[in-house]
Symmetry: C3
Subunit: 203 residues, 3 copies
């Protein structure tokens, strides 16, 4: 129940981020709906395709489609008021990222993949919906330029493989890793932490 609530909140937050980007580009209603979908489920879909032999989850479970359509409906109606919800949206989005990272890792483990691949799948689950959203909107993905949240996913995902070595139940390690992703992202945004610059000074 708790898991389901978080999953719905995360899905909705991702959908809102899709609606916002799509409306900034003045897409029509169909475009906005598609971008919201892609942002929410694109990462998980790519993960399921890469793992193979896994049914793509949202095609068999109406929860996602329903959540996204309701979110799009209210996001469009209250588009002008979304700025007042910025903190809540950021929180849901961050919860979504943490949760999606661990969902991706768990799917990778179930498929018998190595930890490094599981972490890659987790990061992909959490971040590639946004990548596809940006490509469809004809932008270089924001996560390749300034967002640091992929790094939070990678670090949180790696922490899981340390936590499972501890004498604690697996579900605790799972929850702790989600918390690591969430805390890292909040700290990074709060303190403006960026990845090390790989370019010469003159930029």
């Amino acid at each position: 129940m708790f898991y389901l609530t978080m999953d719905i909140l995360g899905t909705a937050a991702f959908a809102v981020s899709g609606v916002l980007v799509a409306m900034e580009k003045r897409l029509d209603l169909f475009g906005v709906v598609i971008i919201a979908f892609v942002t929410s489920i694109g990462g998980g879909t790519l993960r399921d395709l890469l793992i193979g032999n896994t049914p793509v989850i949202w095609m068999r479970d109406l929860t996602y489609v329903t959540t996204i359509l309701i979110t799009v409906f209210f996001s469009i109606i209250f588009a002008n008021h979304l700025k007042y919800l910025r903190t809540s949206l950021f929180l849901f989005d961050t919860i979504g990222i943490g949760l999606y990272t661990m969902v991706g890792i768990e799917k990778g483990l179930q498929a018998g993949l190595l930890p490094v691949m599981c972490i890659a799948l987790g990061t992909m689950t959490a971040s590639f919906g946004g990548v596809i959203r940006d490509i469809l909107c004809n932008e270089i993905p924001v996560i390749f330029r300034k967002e640091i949240y992929a790094t939070a996913c990678i670090a949180g995902g790696a922490s899981y493989f340390l936590f499972v070595l501890l004498p604690i139940p697996d579900s605790y390690a799972f929850g702790a890793a989600i918390l690591v992703v969430i805390v890292l992202r909040i700290l990074a945004v709060r303190f403006g932490i960026r990845l090390p610059n790989i370019y010469k000074k003159e930029t």
Copy 2:
């Protein structure tokens, strides 16, 4: 036979639309061929990948590849004359959209998916080739901005699930739904019907 003829006409019309967009971007011969392919078979390929456990149809059936290559050949040679064929092309394109929508729905039903997912797959089959075409040409997909044909696919697809409730053979319901897509699109283009505007007046 009738089905095959329509399928070939639809494939060719989609390929022509790919050639036109690619040539407007001054792509070279290889680029034009790839864009024509992607426009024709991109939607169906994405559908087959999402359904899974389905062979991607054009890889096992030379009809599509042959149709597309011949279409590209003649489209390039007669590129300057294609404008005189605008009405025919629009008609073939619309037939293709109607047919592709129902092919996608049928594949979804065979995979045991819910009606709403089948309609989504049908719309995807009919419209995502154009989406991939526009992305490869570095444009925001036209269907997200002004084309209304996705809406015709959704409405036509939904009508099929009403028609099958009637005491008529399934193939009649199939054909009627294709007609709904075709008629809706023609009406929308003729009367300039657009999706409801979701933005404030000042735009």
Copy 3:
């Protein structure tokens, strides 16, 4: 052993090309790593998804991930010196293209596909990593505009199906086809050979 060495050199050369494009776009470290990955393994991944029922190779074999990460590390450190390596990079890249073409063809044959589809898969393996790289960097893929290397892949791939008709071991035909790709590309670049122009003179 020889095969493995060539595979690693090709993977690394593709990764370097990804790093160079990504750094030109001033992406951050995460963006550079992702673009390097996508350039190296994007073509093979798309091929495996289209064939279906094939595990995506880099997810089960650490060679690729390790090669790419090491390549990215050194490419960033020596970014300013890469221009002195241009000839070596071009050579590795060309070897990679030749090898990837034949790997794609072999996978197609194993899946029981027709020669024309195998050639398409080979060309895709060799060239679509670069296509995805360019799309993620918000460019029209260079291979659709001026690079001729897809044509070298197609011709080399086709030559394989002639070579296997000769009374020589299959591995010789395989190697000869790789050589055809390599030689054609070197000749094309050396002599500035382009695809025939499909546009009117005035451009």
